[in-house]
């Protein structure tokens, strides 16, 4: 019972973080709201007994991606006009389009039966996850390493392009 209440609480705080991302002005505060939302989602994954994903959510997203993002924000000039004026001229159109999309998605989910009928929560520890990866999905695992190498090379190429264009 307490677990269920905590799950609802974490999910609501994740949505609250998302709303704060739209409302807050300074990029650093937006980053903090996103970190808050991600940690709440990590709590949701933990309470759903998907422990591996909960750990990865904190380690990869909050620990790596968001630290990189915060580091990039600290490099920038806070007098930038986009730091002062929050919304683009597409505010009205964006609001209308998003509300319509949300209505369509909610309606389609409402119409569709939720797949799977397992009532007992399956616990995804490290072991079944690792076995599935190394036995069945090993190719995808290797491809992710290739993707990461390509991303690093691309990032270096972008940096090189920047230094070449400035002398």
């Amino acid at each position: 019972m307490i677990e269920e209440l905590l799950l609802y609480f974490c999910a609501c705080t994740a949505v609250l973080g998302g709303v704060m991302m739209i409302v807050l002005r300074a990029p650093m505060r937006v980053a903090m709201a996103l970190i808050y939302s991600m940690i709440s989602l990590g709590g949701v994954y933990g309470l759903l007994h998907v422990d591996v994903i909960a750990v990865f959510q904190i380690m990869i997203y909050v620990g790596a991606v968001m630290v990189f993002m915060v580091y990039a924000i600290m490099l920038l000039d806070v007098r930038d006009p986009s730091f002062v004026r929050r919304y683009s001229p597409q505010l009205g159109a964006g609001l209308v389009a998003t509300v319509l999309l949300a209505l369509v998605l909610l309606w389609s989910v409402h119409q569709t039966a939720v797949p799977g009928t397992a009532p007992s929560p399956a616990r995804f520890g490290v072991q079944p996850f690792s076995v599935a990866f190394l036995a069945e999905y090993w190719l995808y695992f290797e491809l992710t390493s290739l993707l990461l190498v390509v991303a690093v090379v691309a990032a270096v190429a972008v940096v090189k392009a920047r230094s070449a264009s400035h002398g």
């Binding site: 994903i53 959510q57 990189f68 919304y87 609001l95 939720v114």
Partner: protein, 100 residues
């Protein structure tokens, strides 16, 4: 509303909030962060369905999405800094000539 429907609704809300932020915000870095929020919404729905169905495929998919998100940020942030260097602003409107 049962737990699965609630979590799917939360994931939809996160996805649409991310999309809204991507459309209405001005700052390129904030737009990137809103894309991350959209990915988080998708991840939540995948985990919910995987846990409901009792299979491991959904969690494998989420792990792959984590890697894709990390690669995306590794490439996107140098590009954003490059744009900042060229135009001295992160306002998306200042880069509107990129649309061709």
């Amino acid at each position: 509303m049962d737990k699965v429907s609630f979590l799917v609704a939360v994931s939809l809300t996160l996805f649409t909030l991310g999309l809204l932020g991507l459309i209405v915000r001005r700052n390129l870095l904030v737009m990137l962060m809103c894309m991350e929020l959209m990915l988080n919404g998708v991840n939540l729905s995948l985990v919910t369905f995987a846990q409901r169905g009792g299979n491991v495929e959904g969690t494998v998919m989420v792990f792959l999405i984590f890697i894709v998100a990390a690669s995306e940020i590794a490439i996107a942030i140098p590009i954003v800094l490059l744009l900042m260097r060229h135009r001295h602003t992160l306002d998306a409107g200042a880069h509107s000539d990129l649309k061709g």
